[in-house]
Amino acid sequence: MTDTAPGTSPLEERSSPGAPPPVEVRGLVKRYGELEAVAGVDLTVKAGDVYGYLGPNGAGKTTCLRMMLGLIRPTAGSVRLFGRDPQETVQALDGVAGFVEAPTFYPYLTGRRNLELLAGFDGGDAGDRIDQALEIVDLTDRARDKIGGYSHGMRQRIGIAAALLRDPKLLLLDEPATGLDPAGMRDMRLLIRRLADQGMTVLLSSHLLAEVEELCNRVAIVRTGKIVYEGAIADLKRGAGATYRLSTTNDERAIAVCRAQPGIADVRVAHGRISFAADEPAVADLSQALIEAGALIHSLAPQTVTLEDLFFSLTEGDGVVNGTVPAGDPAPAEASR
């Protein structure tokens, strides 16, 4: 056991500069017989990140989160939370809270009683935080009702309250907004944003790409158990390159010009519109070339790349988004021309 400086808790020491990252996953594999639910996942969540874990249904997100929380054993690979392995000791979960799938409670106990039970299971001063946690999730008035009578949204919120009892530095949330009405989703986003603004590291899995784009600074995109991208959303978009749409007086000639022009990549035609990827100087050269070729420009406009575009390209396409580097690839993929 490491020595701790006087007045410094082990948890504080674990989150000080130079300390291990909140989440470090290396080569994580989970097999169920022939099925490989998680196939060699590597990811790192740094202190202060709001990290989105994205993937379609069955991609292995929840399985991965369960391994992070020590609920299931990896077939291979390792998980470290603040440098500790949750499979070895429950102390690895100190300062870590969250839930996988829907948060679950004892339906025959009241909301407050459930929180008291969990605070008892947390030890320390978790019990002192019950009132404030209930206040934060706006359930003070319903705290004395049995959880069996709670709506889905209320259960999600008391799940957050239960997580806050642990005074977490790292919050692991599996689809926290699933099943909530629009107002509930908005409020859940606000809560996560507030917690993140106070320095809490958050890892959340989600199907809601707009939510992830709004909340998260970094993402991992998983496809059939494998990470196809890990890094900053900004890098992902930058890596995707700028795309443009083009319409001319002679599109056939314009396509030929685009394909022949240096710096123009990924030339496609869809619904009568030409699209391509390029940087600004190449676009300027292209417009000159088009005029010289007699294909006069009707419109030439940059297109905004959304996380949704990138997500579908990575999870349904060939895993390459206009030059984006899939996780694990040694060199940038060459865009098709």
Binding site: L71, Q91, L118, F121, V137, D138, K169, L195
Partner: protein
């Protein structure tokens, strides 16, 4: 705000608050045990089991009352004494309760205590707090044992009270034919209940095993009862007499050694090791399965 989160200042719960400079007291088996008892107090099946343990002796005494007026007596141990001393009632209940009543009452909680957590999905909730898995297993096992002890002693005590009201708090005849005073008889009744806890403890362990493995409350409760009945069945099959001393069902009669003069300790000692032979592997298997299992449901 009706659907969303409140506006309370989350900085009060922010990272590091309440942790700095404090030594975090970690929960253990005692914490789990106390909360498991509280959870049992809020579950209908607990009252179903304890209620049955209390009501059956009363129904039995009512039946004795009417039967006495018709014909009286029976052909089982203590039958002729049923109307002479209320102390005989709990002993007769121990005799007949071994077939299915007490195993079922025990299995109601033992078979459910892990399986219901799987069913509700709450296992993942408690396993992501600050408790080691062995804390949770041990606390649950102790709470189940406490429930079983409570059920047996409720049944015995209600039997003594109801029987005494019906037949009087009188001296009782032992299986050796000697007569013991009512206070001595009461002592023997409670000692018998204690000895009865040996095979009941085995039923607890079997219930815990099935609850852990099947992850299905109904299957574990019925399975525990079926195993208990299976032992009864083996005991009455012709040609299997040599197995009789080693069957779980036989150990439910070990308390009768206390009602002989001098006390016959042999069946009690045998009950202890035979029951351990069944209970220890069952409990150890349940423990290891619980420690190593993937919690993927819920």
């Amino acid at each position: 705000m009706s659907s969303g989160v409140g506006t309370a200042d989350t900085t009060r719960l922010g990272p590091g608050v309440g942790v700095a400079g404090r030594s975090r007291s970690r929960p253990g088996v005692g914490t789990v045990y106390r909360w498991e008892l509280l959870k049992l107090r809020h579950q209908k099946r607990t009252y179903l089991g304890l209620g049955a343990a209390a009501i059956v002796p009363i129904l039995f005494v009512v039946a004795i009352h009417f039967r006495h007026h018709r014909s009286g007596g029976g052909d089982f141990a203590f039958a002729s004494y049923l109307t002479k001393s209320g102390l005989v009632v709990p002993l007769v209940l121990l005799l007949f309760g071994a077939v299915w009543m007490f195993p079922l009452i025990t299995a109601l909680v033992a078979g459910d205590i892990f399986a219901s957590e799987d069913h509700n999905g709450t296992l993942k909730t408690v396993l992501t707090r600050s408790l080691e898995r062995w804390h949770i297993f041990t606390g649950k096992a102790l709470a189940t044992a406490t429930y079983a002890v409570t059920a047996i002693f409720i049944s015995g005590t209600v039997g003594v009270i109801a029987g005494s009201i019906q037949s009087g708090f009188n001296s009782v005849q032992t299986l050796s034919g000697s007569i013991v005073s009512a206070p001595k008889g009461l002592e023997l009744v409670y000692l018998s209940l204690l000895v009865y806890l040996i095979p009941i403890g085995t039923v607890v362990c079997i219930g815990l095993l099935l609850s852990t493995i099947t992850r299905n409350s109904a299957a574990a409760v019925v399975g525990t009862l079926m195993i208990s009945l299976l032992f009864q069945l083996i005991g009455i099959l012709p040609g299997l007499g040599a197995l009789q001393p080693y069957l779980l069902s036989t150990q439910f009669n070990a308390w009768q050694g206390l009602l002989r003069q001098p006390i016959d300790w042999a069946p009690i000692v045998r009950a202890a090791w035979v029951c351990a032979m069944y209970a220890v592997p069952a409990l150890a298997t349940a423990f290891l399965v619980f420690l190593r299992r993937d919690v993927a449901g819920g």
